[in-house]
Amino acid sequence: MSAPASKPVRSAQPRFPGLRQFFREPLGIFGLVIVVILVFGAVFAPYLTDYAPNALDIKARLAKPSGQHWLGADHLGRDTFTRVLYGGRVALKVAAWSISLALLGGVFLGMLAGYGPRWLDNLLILIFDAVRSFPTIMFALAIITLTGPSINMVIMVIVITSIPVYARIVRAQTMALRESEFVLAARSVGTGWFRMLYLHILPNVIGPLLILASMDIPVVVTIESGLSFLGLGVRPPTASWGTVLADGYAYVRNTPWLLVAGGVPLVLTTLGFTFMGEALRDVFDPTLKKRD
């Protein structure tokens, strides 16, 4: 899957040399399968279940798993399986928004810090470190105290605390590339800074960054679940893995099924994206691979 020989290569490396190699890594495929199942479940939720996620059915209160309710029902008779599927939607939405925005912000600020003047770099690094010094959940709680809970606030907090992480990586790469030969060559023919960043530096930075971002997805989803569990993320009655867990906690002495149903998708998300991400990283940048 490499570019045809006639096209000029813009910067150092071919784009997709390793996809075939990826498919040789069993854990990576396992991860990919899990990710596909999760995304599928989230996207096609309405077709996979007859129930509505918030539909009450007092008669089915705290039902055990059965043919009717595959994972049982909660204290208001809502079908747990359905709520888990729709919870996946919330997770997907939060992950997609927050990581995209964080990547944009991170790339922008990172390149700014790496390519710009020294004082700007020092200032940005200080701000990054300061933002990173807040324990994420606590920072989220501080902001939510002021604004009230909402899913958008959750996304915003995640974006703010994630940008420094991506920015540092982009900054490091930018600084390294800044002294590399092809950049110096481009500068010697008078390439302006914008073209430089966009054409020469960005393509080399984006690869590892995307892989890291994909391994960040479980972290983001966990934060959303955690906040929703506390009642400070999505507002009830909306279904999220966190709210299912909250209901499970409240009714732990009545039924274990809610807790199991809420926790398993989180664990699967972590396993799936982590395995997939590690396999991708081994394929695209074997130098990062840990000795085994």
Binding site: A130, T136, T145, T222, Y249, V252, G262, L266
Partner: protein, 314 residues
């Protein structure tokens, strides 16, 4: 060595200063009257007046900022909206519980993690190594608050072997220890996984270095080589991880305290968030942040002691 310490200290103070400023700024960035925003919908008019006067809301922003900074430096983190008690006192009363929990969690998870990591590295690709590998992946994959919930479910509710809620009778050490078991376990489990994997990777890397081969060539016993030559270097990334991970652990402690109804900073913040009691939340977050920055500093100091080359840089 001292120069390094002073530089790092200065950097840490700068970070805390910027963090404080960020907290100050967000109250003013939220749309609406800063006083209502800060004190929440339940504040009475007299509270608001009081707050307005104390914080000097009508004064220019930079004077407010100045007052804020000088207050914090003097230890005055403001007053609780509802009870009038000093925020600092409220926080001080809750802090020890969290610190104990975090220390217990780090203690057992670091010890077990290092031991497992070393074993895995020395007996690489053996059955034991593979088993440890699978267990650690599993341990990392479960978010700590989910571990808390499941630990509660399995050990407290289903099996009834350990107490579910609270911190135990004060004065009764055994009871308090029993109440620490589940939260400490839940908080530390993921860390055992991270640390074991990191120690394994670091040890494998170090053991492949030339100087280890040279040490063997001098006939040094393998145990001494592992403990004094290899581990001393391999442990450095773990120390860094712990220093930086304290923040994560403090967040995890928050959940553990809520799930197990333990007193502590986390529970405090949560209760105050529900009451929209911003001054206390701000004060508690500031204190935890400072704690985090200090522990990262301590981790760096420990590393500079372990690896003399670090002292030469920076």
């Amino acid at each position: 060595m001292w120069v390094y310490f002073l530089k790092r200290l200065g950097l840490s103070l700068a970070i805390i200063a910027v963090a404080m400023s960020i907290l100050f700024v967000i109250t003013h960035m939220i749309p609406g009257d800063p006083v209502s925003v800060a004190l929440g919908p339940r504040a009475t008019t007299s509270m608001k007046e009081d707050y307005r006067a104390r914080m000097g809301i009508d004064l220019p922003v930079y004077i407010q900022y100045g007052r804020f900074v000088s207050n914090v430096l003097r230890g005055n983190l403001g007053q609780d909206v509802f009870s009038g008690l000093s925020v600092l006192d409220i926080v001080k009363r809750q802090l020890p519980h969290t610190v104990i929990l975090v220390c217990v969690a780090i203690g057992w998870s670091a010890t077990l993690g290092i031991i497992l990591g070393c074993f895995s590295a020395v007996r690489r690709n053996s059955i034991l190594d593979r088993i440890i590998g699978v267990i650690t992946v599993g341990a990392i994959a479960i978010p700590s608050f989910v571990v808390s919930l499941y630990a509660l479910l399995i050990f407290a509710v289903t099996l009834r072997v350990l107490p579910a809620l609270g911190a135990g009778e004060s004065g009764d050490i055994v009871d308090q220890l029993k109440h620490l078991v589940l939260p400490g376990f839940a908080l530390g489990l993921g860390w055992v996984g991270y640390i074991a994997r990191l120690v394994r990777a670091s040890m494998l890397e170090v053991m492949g270095e030339n100087f280890i081969r040279a040490a063997r060539a001098y006939g040094l016993p393998e145990r001494a080589i592992i403990a004094r030559y290899a581990l001393k270097i391999a442990i450095i990334p773990t120390v860094t991880l712990l220093g930086v991970g304290i923040g994560n652990m403090l967040s995890g402690a928050l959940f553990a305290e809520i799930v197990f109804a333990r007193p502590g900073i986390g529970k405090l913040i949560y209760d105050m968030v529900l009451m929209r009691n911003y001054p206390v939340v701000q004060g508690a977050v500031l204190v935890t942040t400072a704690l985090f920055v200090v522990s990262a500093l301590i981790a760096d100091i420990i590393n500079s002691y372990l690896d003399p080359r670090v002292r030469a840089s920076l």
